[in-house]
C-alpha cells in the first residue's frame, strides 16, 4: 500500500530491561518484552504504531485477556506514544470479520481496492509460509538419522522463536543432535482433531494448539519439552494438562519456565540432564525412570 514498515530489533537485554521497568510486576513475561519492543520502535521515530486488539482468531475461541486490551495496556504503561493503529480482530463469530477489520484499517491509508488487494496478497503469503513449515516437518522429510532423538518443543510461538527469551532452546537442542518438532509443522486440522481427547473444549486458540500437538507428538517424539512463561495465564493450565497427560502415558516431559532471569546455565543443565535421561532410556529398551524415582535404585 506504499507505506514503509519499521520492525523492532531482535529481543535483547535492553529491550527486556525497559519492558520490565515499564510494566506492573505481576504481568507475564511476553507483555513485558512487548513493552520493550514498543519503546524500541518509538525510539526509531515511527509515525504510527500497529498494535491490534486481538480478541479472537478462530470461531468461539479467544487468545487471552491481555491481548484483548493490549493497546490499552501499552497506552497506560508508556508515555509519548505516536498514534496507535488498533483494529479489533474479533473472529468469535467467524473469521470473515477479521478480514473486514483489516480492510477497514487499510482503507485509512489507501483506496479500498488497494487495501483489498494488499490483504489478499498478505494472506496468500502467510498461507504459503505456513504450508512451507508443514512441508518441512519431520514427517515429510525423507532423510532422518535413526539414532537421533526426536524432541517435540511446545509453547507459544512468541516464546519458542524468540532466541533471547527462549535462550535459544531450539538451536541448542539441534546442536545436541536432536530432531525438533513444533506445533506449526502440523496442519491446523490435525491439531483440532487431536485436541478432542480433552474433557472440555479448550477455548484458547494457543492452548488448543499446545494440547492438540502434545497429543499428536506423544506417539512420535522421544520426549516433550514445554516452554512456559511465568505468570502466563493460559500456560499455567495448559502446561499442567500436558504434564498430566505425559505422566499418565509415560512420556518424558520437561517443563521450562521462563521469566526475566537471563542466567542460562540452569536451563542448559536441565536440558542436558533431560537428554541424558532420554538417551539412557533408549539404551535400556525404553525403560524410563518412573515418575519421581531413579531407574537404578533398588
Amino acid at each position: 500500500m506504499g507505506l514503509q514498515v519499521v520492525i523492532s530489533d531482535q529481543t535483547n537485554k535492553a529491550i527486556l530491561d525497559y519492558g520490565v521497568k515499564a510494566a506492573v510486576d505481576g504481568i507475564c513475561l511476553p507483555v513485558k518484552v512487548y513493552l520493550g519492543h514498543v519503546h524500541n520502535l518509538v525510539s526509531k521515530g515511527v509515525d504510527f504504531l500497529f498494535i491490534p486488539y486481538i480478541v479472537s482468531v478462530e470461531k468461539a475461541e479467544y487468545i487471552c485477556p491481555k491481548f484483548m486490551g493490549l493497546p490499552d495496556i501499552i497506552r497506560n504503561c508508556l508515555d509519548d506514544l505516536p498514534p496507535l493503529l488498533s483494529p479489533t480482530i474479533d473472529g468469535r463469530r467467524g473469521t470473515s470479520k477479521v478480514m473486514w477489520s483489516y480492510i477497514k484499517l487499510g482503507s485509512r491509508f489507501a483506496p479500498l481496492h488497494k487495501a483489498f488487494e494488499a490483504y489478499r496478497q498478505a494472506t496468500a503469503q502467510q498461507c504459503r509460509y505456513e504450508q512451507q513449515l508443514v512441508n518441512n516437518s519431520l514427517d515429510n522429510r525423507a532423510q532422518c538419522s535413526p539414532n537421533s532423538l526426536v524432541i517435540a518443543v511446545l509453547g507459544h510461538e512468541y516464546l519458542l522463536h524468540d532466541e533471547f527469551i527462549s535462550m535459544g532452546i531450539i538451536k541448542r537442542l539441534q546442536q545436541a543432535g536432536c530432531e525438533i518438532m513444533t506445533a506449526e509443522q502440523i496442519d491446523p486440522g490435525t491439531i483440532a482433531g487431536h485436541s478432542c481427547f480433552l474433557k472440555k473444549r479448550m477455548f484458547w486458540t494457543s492452548g488448543k494448539r499446545i494440547l492438540g500437538s502434545a497429543h499428536y507428538f506423544a506417539a512420535k517424539a522421544d520426549g516433550i519439552v514445554s516452554l512456559m512463561s511465568f505468570a502466563c495465564g493460559t500456560d499455567s493450565m495448559t502446561t499442567d494438562l500436558v504434564d498430566r497427560y505425559c505422566h499418565r502415558n509415560q512420556i518424558p516431559h520437561l517443563v521450562i519456565s521462563l521469566d526475566e532471569h537471563t542466567g542460562q546455565t540452569g536451563v542448559l543443565t536441565r536440558i542436558e540432564a533431560f537428554l541424558d535421561l532420554l538417551k539412557r532410556g533408549k539404551q535400556h529398551e525404553n525403560h524410563l525412570s518412573p515418575y519421581g524415582k531413579p531407574v537404578h535404585s533398588n
Binding site: V24, I63, M68, P71, T234, D235, S236, L241, H247, R248
Partner: protein, 371 residues
Amino acid sequence: MKITFPHMGNLYIAIEALLSELKFDLIIPPPSSKRTLTLGTKYSPETICLPLKLGVGNFLEGIELGADTGLMVGGRGPCRLGYYAALQQEILYDLGKEIEFIVLDHPKEDFVRFKSQIIPLIKAGGVKALAKGLALAWEKLVAVEKLERTAHYVRPREARPKAATQVLNRALQKLRHTNTVGGIRKLCRQECDHLRDLIDRNAQEPLKVGVVGEIYTILEPFANLDLEERLGYLGVEVLRTVSLVQWLKNNLILSSLGLYSNRWLRINARGYLHASVGGHGLESVARTVALAGQGYDGIIHILPFTCMPEIVAQCILPNVSVDYQIPVLSLVVDEHTGETGFQTRLEAFVDLLSRRGQGGLQHDSACISWS
C-alpha cells in the same frame, strides 16, 4: 449422591437452600482455612490463580467428609474460570479421588453432557420443588448481600467494637434455617434493624472506600484476609462494587434474553479500556472512574496473583488515579497468609486518605497512591 462444592463467601447459603429443596444430600465443606489452602496449593499447578487452589482444597475437604459428587460452574473463556472444572477434575482424578462432577455450563458447550447431567437433576425433585428452591436461593442471596451491605455501613460507626460482625454471623446462621420467602424477608429486615441499632449516633462521618476487582477475592473473606472487616475496624465504610445478585441478573437472565449490555461500563472506562477483557477487568476500571465522581475517598483494587483480566485493569488504574485524583491501592493476593504486612498497608492507605481529607496532600498528584 452426596454433593460438595467450593466456597465463595456466603454463597453456600443459597446453594444449600436450592439443593436441599431438591432433596439432595449436601456436604458443605468447612469454611476455607489455612488447611484448605495448603491442600489446594500442594496439588494445583504452581502459577494458577488462587480461586482454583482454594477450590481444590474445598473439594478435598468435602471428599474427606464423604462427598462423591462435585458441583462446579463452567464457562466459555477468556478467563481461566471457564476451565476450572475440567482441571479440578483432572487433579482429583490423579489423586485417586474419582468423584462425579456436575458442571453448570452453557448448554451450547456440551449439550450431551448437559442433557445427561442437568436434566435428571431438575427432574429429581420435580419442577415445583425446583421453582421453590430457586426462589428461596435467590431470596437468600439477596438477603445475604443486604445484610453484608448493612454491616459494611455499620462497622465504622459502631459503638462497641466487633459487635456488627457478631450480629451479622448470627443473622446468617438464622437465615440458613429459614425456609419461606416471607420468613427470609422478615428476618432480613429485623436483622438489618439490629445492625443499625449498633450505630453510635455521635460517631463522626467515616471515610468511604470502594472495593473493585476480581469477584472471588472480593467475596471470599479468607482469600482477601478479611479485607472488608479490617477496613471497617479502621473506620472506613466499604462499598463492595461487585454483587453476585447483579452479576446473575446481568449474565444469566438479561444476557440470555439478549438485553444485557455493558455500555454503561464502556462509557465510564472510555479512554482507558475500550471493551471487556473478560472477568471483571472492564468493571474495575469503569467503577473506579464512577466512584471517583461520586466523592469516594479511595479505591482498593484486589486481585489474585496472575489474574489475567484484572492485571489489565491494574496496568490502567494508576492513570485513572492521577487523572481523577483518587488514591488507588492494588492488592495482589496469593498463598501468602501473613496478616501483618497486609494490615500495615491498609493502615498506611487509610492514613493517607484521612490526611488528604484534611487537605494536607490534596494537590500533590505525584504522591496520590502507590502500588
